[in-house]
Symmetry: C2
């Protein structure tokens, strides 16, 4: 099987590193609109060669690992691919992507969201074990072709990922709460602290707590701009519900309502029962 990866950053680059070890993959080629990323990807041997879009189209499996706006644009340039080609997109939002797939290639496409990543980006962020043991959500799989489903499942199983199934609409709402809104918070927290505190005080006083709360604030603006764009309504709703929760928390402090504050913290502690 010949694989073409579009986008050789953290997600595409890490995928290339793990695919190399799979016996059923004969060749991995890549493309990236960023010249510097192309050079870095070759330097790091993520892919054997960088090819033109026309050659990517001839691959058996095409992976789209670019920001979500880019995914929509590329899918719309793939209308002439052969019937047996599989296209898997790695977008973090899914509803706008699946609804924008041209009808004549709907069966070719499998909409996937690998629930993994780091705050780093670009080819140098690529790490081999990024996908191992993490979850991949496949959306609206009933609209993909039988062959394409098979290829996608074979791929994710070979990467030792846990496959979960969801409707795109449902996926976007859940991820707004569990992933996208927390990113908005982390970016805003980082900016609040950067404006109020100087570098030395941050370095002295930032223990594990602030580091873990601000880690996501280092994530790629290009990727996240598209996520907020494509999942706008869900994200706004999630931020507003969070704002209400925080206002409540603040009100308990302001009113010195320690009993209620304590109860809120105990409620939050129940996350223990979900994961520790």
């Amino acid at each position: 099987m010949k694989i073409g990866i579009i986008g050789l950053g953290l997600m595409g680059g890490s995928l290339a590193l793990s695919l190399k070890k799979l016996p059923f993959i004969q060749e991995i080629v890549g493309s990236d609109h960023n010249k510097e990323h192309q050079e870095q990807a070759l330097e790091l041997s993520l892919v054997k060669k960088i090819v033109e879009f026309e050659e990517i189209k001839k691959c058996d499996l095409i992976i789209l690992a670019v920001p979500v706006d880019g995914i929509i644009s590329i899918i719309n340039q793939l209308t002439d691919i052969p019937e047996n080609t599989t296209v898997i997109d790695f977008g973090s939002t899914k509803e706008k992507i699946v609804s924008s797939i041209p009808a004549q290639i709907r069966k070719n496409v499998v909409a996937a969201h690998p629930m993994t990543g780091t705050e780093f980006f670009g080819p140098y962020a690529a790490i081999e074990e990024l996908y191992t043991n993490s979850v991949v959500v496949l959306c609206d799989l009933e609209d993909s072709g039988a062959h394409q489903k098979e290829v996608a499942i074979k791929l994710f199983e070979a990467l030792r990922m846990n496959i979960s199934y969801m409707h795109a609409h449902e996926h976007d709402r859940h991820t707004a709460f569990i992933s996208h809104m927390p990113h908005a918070i982390s970016y805003s927290l980082a900016n609040t602290v950067i404006k109020q505190e100087n570098r030395d005080d941050i370095l002295t006083l930032a223990a594990g707590g602030f580091r873990s709360m601000s880690r996501l604030a280092k994530s790629s603006p290009a990727m996240w701009e598209d996520v907020f764009k494509q999942n706008k309504d869900n994200v706004l709703e999630a931020i507003e519900l969070f704002e209400k929760e925080l206002q409540n928390f603040k009100k308990h402090i302001k009113d010195e309502n320690w009993k209620e504050l304590h109860k809120d913290m105990q409620d939050a502690n129940t996350l223990y029962n979900i994961f520790s």
Copy 2:
């Protein structure tokens, strides 16, 4: 030197574990108002014996590793300790503590804030290397006695900690932004998600991002209630500045002002220049 540790949870218990290895410590005794914690501390051999408050008072060095309200109450029961006794409090807020130390024992006390911890609490959370290589902030050190300063510095150096000096007032403002407000956010984020999402979806979709953003929400309500109480004004100010920042972020999404949103995220990315 004989050491008495009041409070045998994460902070006191971890301290006991590291002190055991120091040559200049002859005996470590402990006390904890929680019966269960007393038993666990003995079971885990954190301390050799649990003693009454009157015996703690006879130690050369007394460590107060309890929530901040408890620290204030205990310090006020220590007015009859010998001149050479050193009392070090480990409270996460400092201004109310230093201002509540009775004048006759002001020189005995060193106000310290070790900038380390985990989200776990109680004796079972104790880990030996908790203090190694982390920062300890000593506040208003000019008000402590020469002997007490020496004991405190000797102790923290033996624990291989990096000592930083600050005024209590300054400390409380900085930590409101860098530690206390981020905790309020994490508790509120956890509660927002727990109310909106079910256990299975959280487990499936929570990758590293949500896990790191919600980790602090598992912290001890008893400890954090006191922090919010004692640092109320600074914490409220920090939450309000964060709320404004998030409102701005939300407004950019609502208004589809992607250029400004992108710029905000790039600003947040500068945290890279502080720590990676």
